[in-house]
């Protein structure tokens, strides 16, 4: 059983949803970012999405665009992101890490080398925004062959005719992008999310995590009543943007994470 499967199975047994947190690797710098990463599980993150910075994040809103730029300016690159996971794994063997980003840096790094290094570093899953199932053979197939889950995004525009194709090779969990738009933009109504999850359930038995536009413990709690996982990204990343220094960035991200975790844990209570 993969670390992602184990985590979602354990939480299902506990009767609660997972808090999935997104931060960009290397934001605001390597050391502070590693401190955030190491602190997230204790602050209540159940699954960690770690953004791989890319100069042209076409599907991201301003918050994550700026996070990406901060990380790149601080010298982050793909090799360092894998190193960060390696360092995290020396102290944590249970919290799944999903790398999220765009294809080009991996393409440049070399798919074969990337898959081997990522597996070795302790990466559990990949979300590659600009690799739809039409291009499965490029990365999804070799990654899954190496035991790394490939997590698909499904969206409000993914209709019933297309869903089976998108879900066919999904593993780990399914990420439902609850609004058509970029990260950090508006949020969906609970009714929309409820209907969307019901539709997805007809097509898959994988855990379903919902993201986009979830910023507060209250919103997280509302989604946690409907879904298997709640993804929060831009709100955490904004804490880094607003911090006076790296130390404050670490503290503020972790305290928002704790508050979100409380919301998620008490949601069904």
């Amino acid at each position: 059983m993969s670390r992602l499967e184990q985590r979602f199975a354990d939480l299902k047994a506990e009767g609660r949803a997972a808090l999935v947190t997104f931060v960009t690797a290397g934001d605001p710098g390597y050391e502070a970012s590693l401190a955030i990463l190491k602190g997230l599980p204790e602050a209540g993150a159940d699954v960690i999405e770690l953004g791989m910075p890319f100069t042209d994040p076409m599907a991201d809103g301003v918050a994550i665009q700026l996070a990406t730029l901060r990380a790149l300016e601080a010298g982050q690159n793909l090799a360092k992101t894998l190193q960060m996971v390696r360092e995290f794994r020396t102290g944590n063997q249970t919290t799944p890490i999903v790398l999220m980003g765009y294809y080009n840096p991996i393409h440049r790094f070399g798919v074969e080398r990337f898959v081997a290094d990522a597996k070795d570093a302790g990466v559990d899953g990949l979300i590659i925004v600009d690799l739809p199932p039409e291009h499965d053979e490029e990365l999804a197939t070799p990654a899954q062959a190496a035991g790394i889950d490939f997590i698909r995004l499904t969206t409000p525009t993914t209709d019933d005719a297309r869903l089976p194709r998108v879900l066919q090779r999904s593993s780990g969990f399914v990420y439902y992008v609850s609004v058509a738009g970029v990260t950090g933009a508006g949020s969906a109504t609970n009714e929309h999310v409820e209907q969307a999850i019901a539709r997805l359930r007809r097509h898959t038995e994988l855990p379903i995590s919902v993201g986009f536009g979830i910023r507060t413990p209250e919103q997280a709690a509302a989604i946690a009543r409907l879904a298997d996982g709640v993804v929060v990204g831009s709100a955490l990343v904004d804490k880094i943007a607003q911090a006076k220094d790296a130390g404050q960035a670490v503290d503020d991200v972790l305290s928002l994470c704790s508050a979100l975790a409380k919301g998620v844990r008490n949601a069904r209570g």
């Binding site: 042209d56 599907a59 525009t157 058509a180 970029v182």
Partner: protein, 405 residues
């Protein structure tokens, strides 16, 4: 190798060899697939083609002339140089050929809003123009740097009723405008048509834009046949994304005796870090929906392009060009800012034509090549756009040179 080899692409997945494809976020995938279906249907519909032909003739003013550039030919003393006069089209460049096609498709699909990216502003102007003509609201994304250096086109777009959104992210040029247009599209999926201006982006854009531009080559073949009784010996066009070049080249790809030359923007030189020559100075990667040659660093981060011409200032190139480069059907060379400016001035003085700075790159290559070619060599240069928009850039450059002297 079969005779139709080079013109056969793309395949059903939008691939030209290993280039092209559909590397987009899932939110956009259904839209991109829908567009491909709608375009296939439109292309086979005589009513659509008839209407397209009507607007090409009566609105754009096609066919435009294939003009014998007599004085430039004398000046070079070699090949007989012809200009395909795309700058005489309504709006002053080849861009409108594509915009008319796409706006008819947008209307057919019932879309209520157009978005576009623009670099030099020529595609923005052409989009704003067809948006006005068909009464569809339109939003143009343009890099803040480009807005600064293309004031005249910004004003033209405003006159035509378009909303201009300045993009400050990144270097504030074409690449960043395209990112922002994609962000708009992913947000407004219900009613918005993304009118891409070049032969790049996810399938079907590279093939569709090429098809709408291919009238350039088709007319050239007929006109050269009429004037000289044969096909040209060589074709020269500038390449940023590469739409005017694909438009001229595609018709002749399987004419083995026609030499085809694409001219990239060499900026300060391809051996420096200030150029926009993706084929001569880049490596394959994935950006903006397609696999193609990109300017990037060792970590796969996209690096800044540089060119004196805003329209060539893009770190990628259309995937069909990447394919034609790899199979060596087309020769891709580069021309520096200074060489382009020299050709710009020469064309002004010798032919009474003020070319766009983009076009000046093709002219520079023609001027470099022509002297060593025989006098019966027929060369066609795609005069892709007029230079009115570049007055400020050229003035600034001349002033800077005078200061240095």
């Amino acid at each position: 190798m079969s005779q139709t080899h080079y013109r056969a692409g793309p395949d059903a997945n939008g691939l030209f060899g290993s280039f092209g494809g559909r590397y987009v976020a899932e939110t956009l995938m259904p839209l991109v697939l829908d567009l491909a279906r709608e375009y296939e249907a439109a292309k086979a519909d005589p009513a659509f083609l008839e209407e397209l032909a009507y607007f090409q003739r009566d609105y754009i003013g096609r066919p435009n002339p294939l003009y014998f550039a007599e004085r430039l030919t004398e000046h070079c003393g070699g090949a007989k140089i012809y200009f395909k006069r795309e700058e005489l089209n309504h709006t002053g460049a080849h861009k409108v050929n594509n915009c008319i096609g796409q706006v008819l498709l947008a209307r057919r699909m019932g879309k209520k809003r157009l978005i576009a990216e623009t670099g030099a502003g020529m595609h923005g102007v052409a989009t704003a123009t067809v948006a006005a003509r068909f009464g569809i609201p339109c939003v143009i994304y343009m890099g803040a740097t480009d807005i600064e250096r293309q004031q005249a086109n910004v004003f033209r777009m405003k006159l035509l009723g378009a909303e201009i959104v300045p993009v400050t992210a990144g270097t504030g040029t074409l690449k960043d405008a395209m990112n922002e247009a994609l962000r708009d599209w992913v947000t407004n999926v219900e009613d918005t048509f993304y009118l891409i201006g070049t032969v790049a982006g996810p399938h079907p854009y590279p093939a569709m834009v090429r098809d709408f531009q291919s009238i350039i080559g088709k007319e050239t073949r007929a006109q050269m046949q009429e004037k000289e009784g044969r096909v040209p010996d060589s074709l020269v066009a500038c390449v940023g994304g590469g739409s005017n070049a694909m438009g001229l080249f595609h018709e002749f790809l399987d004419d083995a005796n026609v030499d085809i030359i694409g001219v990239e923007a060499g900026g300060h030189g391809v051996d420096t870090d200030k150029h926009a020559a993706s084929l001569n100075g880049g490596v394959p990667g994935v950006l903006h929906g397609n696999r193609t040659y990109l300017l990037q660093d060792d970590d796969g981060q996209i690096t800044d392009a540089h060119s004196i011409s805003a329209g060539l200032d893009y770190p990628g190139i259309g995937p069909e060009h990447a394919f034609l480069h790899e199979v060596k059907r087309v020769e891709y060379v580069s021309i520096t800012d200074d060489q382009a400016l020299d050709a710009f001035h020469a064309t002004c003085r010798l032919e009474g034509i003020i070319p766009a700075l983009e076009t000046a790159h093709a002219l520079a290559e023609a001027i470099r090549r022509a002297p060593s070619l025989p006098k019966d060599h027929l060369m066609v240069v795609c005069l892709s756009g007029r230079g009115d928009k570049d007055m400020q850039t050229v003035m600034n450059h001349m002033a800077a040179q005078e200061k240095q002297a």
